[in-house]
């Protein structure tokens, strides 16, 4: 019996494509945000409220869903370019799916918002070539999600806490959330907002604008 060493990272092929995507985005000075959360936490609503506040920027939204184009239609209705990816049996977007979109892009975008498939487990394992990972946690989900799904909160750059308007109807414990985040990602900034009431977006919009300026 003969043993042959391979020593290759299983995700190396995805990482290589992500790097190519990143080079394309860097060349075009496009800020790319990979937005992840569980289903129903309000990713599409956050995106719609965000693009409303970024007048003058050329924005593309890439929607990742197992099936359907409901979200892409919502974005297009708002007057913003959208591209729907259906992953069929896959629970996450990967770099090659984003690469296929890049090949079809004809204009230069200032900002690309990628709405990943709703899932707190798989999307974080696959780099897409984004500049930053954003995770959304909504009040009805509870403060214990980072305990149960640590990696996505560990690897994200910014936390958006959505549906803050439902706080009065919930036992959501911010102290416990802070304690958990200290153990996972103590420098991660958290922004509380409500899409329903259209409040709390100032810091998030400021953060995006700063990141776009940083690229220039």
């Amino acid at each position: 019996m003969k043993k042959i060493n391979v020593m290759q990272d299983v995700l190396s092929s995805n990482d290589l494509t992500a790097l190519q995507n990143r080079e394309y985005f860097n060349k075009n000075k496009t800020l790319v945000l990979n937005i992840m959360s569980s289903p129903g936490s309000g990713k599409t609503s956050v995106i719609l409220e965000t693009i409303k506040r970024l007048n003058g920027l050329k924005i593309l939204v890439i929607e990742g869903d197992v099936a359907g184009d409901i979200d892409a239609k919502k974005i297009e209705k708002s007057g913003t370019d959208a591209f729907q990816i259906n992953t069929y049996d896959s629970c996450h977007l990967n770099a090659s799916m984003i690469n296929k979109v890049i090949r079809k892009i004809k204009v230069k975008y200032d900002l690309i918002l990628i709405e990943n498939v709703g899932n707190l487990i798989c999307p974080v394992e696959y780099n897409l070539g984004e500049n930053y990972k954003i995770v959304i946690l909504s009040i009805p989900e509870g403060e214990d999600k980072p305990v149960k799904y640590p990696k996505i909160f560990e690897k994200s750059d910014l936390l958006l806490i959505n549906k803050i308007d439902l706080l009065d109807y919930s036992d959501f414990d911010f102290e416990k959330l802070d304690e958990t985040l200290k153990k996972l990602n103590k420098n991660m900034k958290a922004v509380k907002l409500s899409c329903k009431k259209s409040t709390g977006f100032e810091d998030w919009i400021k953060w995006i604008k700063e990141k776009i300026t940083d690229l220039a």
Partner: protein, 117 residues
């Protein structure tokens, strides 16, 4: 469920390395997988049994070399094995974010070939 696509990646990487180049039977694929890699050996094994059919790996079995979660305390530099990232330093009591020494790995280490049959 994301193990399906990583199992495909394992097969694609090995096809590039060995398809058409290795005449002998590949009987074992050794994978190094960390307990904090985000991937489940059981699920990878399940998908591999389906995906290996009609490939040069149809006779191969997977062998998982499991890497524990090893943490280092950023305060006192004490190193220890933990069950999860939510740990308390056994030396100084620190309980915030630790440096991870190992546990995230996910590599194809080697393949074993039957060159006697």
């Amino acid at each position: 469920m994301h193990e399906y696509s990583v199992t495909e990646s394992i097969i694609n990487i090995l096809k590039k390395e060995f398809d058409g180049k290795e005449k002998n039977k590949i009987i074992k694929i050794n994978l190094i997988i960390g307990k904090y890699s985000g991937f489940s050996p059981e699920s990878i094994d399940f998908y591999f049994k389906i995906l290996k059919k009609d490939t040069i790996f149809s006779d191969a079995e997977l062998n998982f070399i499991i890497k524990d979660i090893a943490l280092e305390c950023p305060d006192c530099k004490y190193k220890f094995i933990a069950d999860s990232v939510f740990a308390v330093c056994k030396n100084c009591g620190y309980e915030e974010k630790f440096n991870m020494i190992s546990g995230k790995e996910f590599l194809i280490e080697s393949v074993e070939i039957d060159d006697e049959g």
